[in-house]
Symmetry: C2
Subunit: 370 residues, 2 copies
Amino acid sequence: MLRFAVIMAGGSGERFWPASRRARPKQLLRLTDPDLSMIEEAIERIAPLIPREQILIATSELLAQPIADALPSLPRENILAEPEKRNTAACLALAAAHLEQRHGAGQEMLMAVLTADHQIGEPERFRATVARALDFAAAEDALVTIGVVPTRPETGYGYIEVAPENRRSAATTDPEQPLQVLRFREKPSEAIAQDYATSGHHFWNSGMFFWRVSTLLQGLTQHMGDLARGERAMVAALAGNTAAATLRDVFLTLDDVSIDIGLMERASNVYVVPADFPWDDVGAWDALERTRGTDADGNVVVGDAVLVDVRDSIVFNEPGIEEMAVAVVGLEGVIVATTRDGILVCPKDRAQDVRRAVAELRKRGRERYT
Amino acid sequence: MLRFAVIMAGGSGERFWPASRRARPKQLLRLTDPDLSMIEEAIERIAPLIPREQILIATSELLAQPIADALPSLPRENILAEPEKRNTAACLALAAAHLEQRHGAGQEMLMAVLTADHQIGEPERFRATVARALDFAAAEDALVTIGVVPTRPETGYGYIEVAPENRRSAATTDPEQPLQVLRFREKPSEAIAQDYATSGHHFWNSGMFFWRVSTLLQGLTQHMGDLARGERAMVAALAGNTAAATLRDVFLTLDDVSIDIGLMERASNVYVVPADFPWDDVGAWDALERTRGTDADGNVVVGDAVLVDVRDSIVFNEPGIEEMAVAVVGLEGVIVATTRDGILVCPKDRAQDVRRAVAELRKRGRERYT
C-alpha cells in the first residue's frame, strides 16, 4: 500500500509578528532549530519513513512559491496551492483529490496528515508512533490520530478523551496500542486542564491524522456529503474531463470547517495512538521558552542582544540580520522581538494579543509590515 | 560692551541611545521640538538678544562638522573644536582665549555661557532673565548664574543656595534681582530635595553663566592659576606668536574639572538670578514626558507606533524614518526607543541605566551602533 504524507502548511502565523509575515509565516521561520525552518524540520522528520516523492505540502497560493524555494528537494508538483483560504477539511479533500488523480487507479493509498509548524522532539520515537498509526490505519477502517500525553495543564490545546477503563499507566512501553476515541474536548478551563493533565485518559490533540484515502472518503460521504462530492469533482477537474468545473470553482464551494469538527468528532471509527514524544504547537512567542530553553537568568536570547538586569524574558533579534543593535534593560517577563523593519514589545502573558497589534497595523494602512 | 554667547555643546549624550550616537548626541536630536534639534533651538532662543556673529559653539572635534552642518547660519569659525575631551573649565578658557584673540584688543567683553541640550520654555522670559544677568555682570565684578525656581523635588539636579533672608516670595515680579550665592549643593537625597523644592532659597543649577571676560580671568587667576596661565598661552598660540606651544599642546595640559567646582564654588563674587521659565535638563528618555507632554493614556508617542493597552510609557520611533513598524502591547511605564539600527527597551525608572547598555555594546565590539 503506497504511503503518502500530506503536510498542512497554510497557516498565517500572525502571533510571531514581526518575524512572521503574510508571505513568511511561522512554518518558514527558524523558531525551534537555529538552522532549519519549521517546515524543513517537518520534512526531515518524516523523510526516513516516507520518501520525498510521496510528501505533499498543502498551502495557500501566496505561500506556494516561498515554500517551494525553501524545499528544493521536493518535487515542485507536490506543493499544492489551495485556491482560497479554507479550513482543514477542504485542504484534505484537495490533497485526496490530487492523490486519487495521480496514483489512485484502483490501488489503496495510506495518508499521513502532518503539521508544518509544531515542534516535535525525539524524531525516532515520533516515526515509530507514525508507523504504528499507519499500520493500524492500513489494517482497519479507522480514522487514526496521535494524542500527546500531557506534561502540563495546558489550556491552549484541545484534548482527546478515551474511556476511563483505557486509562494509561505511566509505565506503558513504546510504541503504544491505538485506543478508541470517546470524544474530543475543546480548550479547557484551568481547573479542567488540571484534571486532564493527570487523568491518564486525556491527550493533547496533535492535529495529525492517519487513514486510507478510501476510509477518509467513506467518512466524508457519511458525515460531510458536500465535501465528498466536491472531492470527486476536483478529481475530475484535475483529470481535465469536466467541462465547466475548474478546480478553483469547485474549491470555492467547499465548507470552511475543520476536519476535527466536520469529520473526527462525528465519526465512530476514530482511534488515537498515545504518544509521549516532546510536542509543542509553538503557538506564540512565549513558546520559545519551552522550545529553545532558558539560560541561568531565565531568558531566551535568539540572535545578538545586550541584556542588563533582565530576567525571564524572550529576546529575539532575527538571526542572520546584523543590522540591528538590541538593548533591553531592567525588565522581567517581556518579549522583545525585532526584525529589519519591525519591533514588538509585549509581556509574555500577552503573547496571544500580538494579533491585535497586527490588526491595528493593517487598519492603519501599514499592511506592508504585516 | 560687546556681548557674546558661548554655547557649550560637547556632550556625548549616551542616555538617549539608540537615537544618540557618538557623532549625533542629544544636542543634535529633535527631542523637544518636532522640527528643530536642541542646538538649533538654543540658537533661535538667544539670537534675538545676541547676533549670530557673536555666538560661539564650543564642542568636540568629532562634533564640529555635524554641528556646522546643522547650523549653516553661524560663521564656521564660530564653531570651536576642543582638541580633546575636557570638562567645562577648560572649554570656557578656550572660548575666552578665542574671544580675546579675536576681539579683545583692550575692550571689555561680556560672555553668556549657555547650554545646547536643555529645554527652556517661554523664550521671552528667558531672554529677559539673560539680559538682567548680563546687565548685572556688566555693572559688577560678578560671576552670575541663573537659578531655576524648583517645581518638583528633583534629585537629579544640583542646587544653588542663597541666604534664608533672601527667601523668595511666590509673588516676585519678573525679571528678578540677582542674589548673592551662599553655596552650591550637590544632587540631594529625596528628603532634602523635598526641603529645597519649597524652601524659597534654593534654585536648580541651570549651568548658565554670565561674566565679563576680565572677571572670569580674574577668577581663574585667583582660584585656578594653571588654567589662567593656560588661557594666556592659548591666546598666544591662536595669535601664532608662540614657537612650540600649539593650541592642542596647551589644551592637553589643562585640568579636567568643571567650572562649577573649579571656580564657582570657590569664588565669593557669585550671584544668581532667579528664573521661573520652564526648564529641563532633558537628561534621559524619561524627560520626554515633561518636555513633550502625555496623551490621555499617559503615553508619549514620537513617530509612528501601534500601542495596544499601553499606559504611562514613552515610545519613540525616530521621526522621519518610515522603515520600522513598532508595536507595543500590554505594558506600563516602559521606554521603547528605536532607530533604523538600534532598539532600546527599558522601564522609565531605569532610564539612567541606558549608559550601561551602551557600555556593554562597546565592550562587545559593536561600537558602530553607539
